[in-house]
Symmetry: C2
């Protein structure tokens, strides 16, 4: 097997897997965000700190994200819509998985692109029809991958990425969410 270089430190991930087998408490992460209403439906959300491996952690820099509604919703379009952020998360999670699995399987990637589409019937959020759900009805992700591998191996790569994807699971399956006022 030739040595491949996709830039993923797979050995560190395999080592982490071994360590966390005997230390499940270290595997408990808390990801955090704080958001602030700006005006109208425009908000900014900041992310920097999280908890994991038994202690407080921090990203190198603070990231700030604008969300708004587009002009066709009579809003100012100061950022993408909240529901579009889910597509960012899903595309990037599956792509990270493809790179990691490829590295682990000795497959050299040359390029990975994905197009993602979410079908959304906005009658739900507008309260037009209570039988229409508020969220996406369907999401489709299509990968285009150039790699040193057969089409079958590339299919298997994407399948394994999906199987291990945090965001795929978070969207495909239900999660308990508590919303409170302090």
């Amino acid at each position: 097997m030739t040595t491949v270089s996709n830039g993923v430190n797979v050995q560190a991930l395999l080592d982490a897997r071994e360590v966390l087998k005997g230390a499940p408490e270290a595997a408990q992460f808390t990801w955090r965000a704080t958001s602030k209403w700006e005006d109208g439906v425009h908000s900014t959300t900041k992310i920097q700190n999280f908890f994991g491996l038994g202690q407080e952690q921090t990203h190198k820099t603070e990231s700030v994200f604008d969300a708004d509604h587009p002009e066709v919703f009579a809003a100012a379009d100061n950022g993408i819509t909240p529901i579009e952020y889910l597509l960012v998360g899903l595309a990037s999670c599956l792509t990270a998985g493809v790179a990691s699995v490829a590295q682990n399987r000795g497959i050299q990637l040359r390029s990975v692109e994905a197009v993602i589409e979410g079908e959304h019937d906005i009658r739900g959020i507008l309260g037009v029809d209570s039988d229409v759900r508020n969220g996406y009805n369907d999401i489709k992700v299509t990968f285009k991958i150039d790699a040193d591998a057969s089409p079958q191996d590339i299919e298997a790569l994407v399948a394994q990425s999906q199987k291990r994807s945090a965001v795929f699971d978070a969207l495909a399956n239900p999660t308990n969410i508590t919303v409170a006022v302090s």
Copy 2:
């Protein structure tokens, strides 16, 4: 009732509701993103165009989002993690809802802040224990709202926002996702 100004054009939303009652096909939106693998688990995702109201639409500008893993995962931390993007979507969706419902109910907002935390057992994505899910085990959102309203009315505001939230529904309930290779 005093005139409140939260910057939300509620009348346009109420008008849209009436129009879409008789034109369900115009309510079918497709939100889109394209992502590109950069190196390692770093990717960039672009969002600009979408489909809705029967035609192609566009945001005023293209938005580009970096996603990566943090240094504790032996990665370069060129952006937040994919699963953190879900928190951005949820916080901003509920906040937009609070502003819209407040406007509709004649409640003047002064400030709206939210803290959001997602509990994530990373043994799932690492394949340590197949009984551990890949996504969040639990998400908690805590609002702090300063407004011309009683605590009960503020509670009701947040409850109605949750009820109409696209992202709350997308995370709380399952969605069909198809992942393919072209």
